[in-house]
């Protein structure tokens, strides 16, 4: 294993993580909701109860504003370098949607919220999707 020190950003990543954790905490304490993005979006594309869409739309609107506020405050763009193109990108999107719906959560719901609640179910999900993602990147980068 070699550490990529040139790309390593522990302070910024820790700060970003704390911001995400505080957002999850506030959504639960103020509105009683788990900050799981796949669940928030899933409740929009296929609602399970009436009159439940409003807060989801507002949250997504905020999530779109967030990066723009950061760019404005820092005065520089946020780095975005794609790793997939062609058919790989929509295929990845489909797998992410299907997997998070069937697996009842993603990095935010099982990760930030589930792990903080000390949920064994979420810990299992996080362990499994991390392993699957690491193996996928290994196959793409090193096995061919």
């Amino acid at each position: 294993m070699t550490i990529d020190f040139a790309s390593f950003t522990p302070a910024a990543s820790l700060a970003g993580g704390v911001m995400i954790g505080i957002a999850a905490l506030l959504l639960m304490r103020l509105h009683g909701r788990v900050m799981g993005i796949s669940g928030i979006l899933g409740g929009l594309v296929r609602p399970s109860s009436d009159g439940d869409a409003g807060w989801r739309v507002l949250f997504v609107f905020g999530a779109l504003l967030g990066p723009l506020i950061v760019i404005h405050l820092l005065g520089r763009p946020v780095a975005v370098q794609p790793v997939a193109d062609g058919l790989m990108l929509p295929a990845a999107g489909l797998l992410v949607g299907l997997g998070t719906a069937i697996g009842s959560g993603c990095t935010s719901g099982h990760g930030i919220c589930g792990l903080a609640r000390l949920s064994l179910r979420s810990a299992a999900a996080v362990g499994i999707f991390m392993c699957a993602a690491v193996i996928t990147v290994y196959v793409i980068r090193h096995a061919s």
């Binding site: 294993m1 790309s7 990543s13 959504l27 594309v45 905020g62 967030g66 946020v78 790793v83």
Partner: protein, 140 residues
């Protein structure tokens, strides 16, 4: 009005945290997942910081009382580790590894690189719909 505003602000804090932490950059995500190559462990700090902030905050704020703007806390009922959880997590992990995007960053980066991410998001929403239909049929 105040209720709506707080939801937007919480969403903005989440999106800003993703941007500051490096989660919106698929190349950085792939670098984090590439533990057998030249590894960038940064995103472990995002997850660690997020979980600890949430966990510590939950301990400090009073438990038991209702949320400020809702009648009750809505927490998931399921606690078991079933085949849907395992299978779904595997599919999600493969998709995350392929595209370097999970659901939150996919949505938030729409404002940065709309053209590239839009197709991913459309397919992700289709997958969420399909997955929920599948789960509704399986579990009733």
């Amino acid at each position: 009005m105040v209720r709506s505003l707080t939801i937007i602000l919480v969403g903005a804090l989440f999106g800003a945290g993703l941007a500051v932490g490096g989660m919106l950059n698929p190349a950085k995500v792939a670098g984090f997942l590439d533990i057998f190559g030249v590894w960038d462990p940064s995103l472990a700090f995002v997850m660690g910081g997020g979980v600890v902030a949430n966990l510590v905050g939950m301990r400090f704020l009073q438990r038991g009382r209702a949320p400020l703007f809702a009648s009750s806390f809505r927490l998931p009922d399921a606690t078991g580790i079933d085949r849907h959880l395992v299978g779904g997590a595997v599919l999600f992990g493969i998709g995350w590894g392929l595209g370097g995007l999970c659901p939150g960053p996919a949505i938030s980066s729409l404002v940065l690189v709309p053209g590239d991410v839009a197709l991913f998001v459309v397919m992700m929403l289709a997958g969420l719909f399909g997955g929920r239909v599948f789960m509704a049929r399986r579990t009733g």
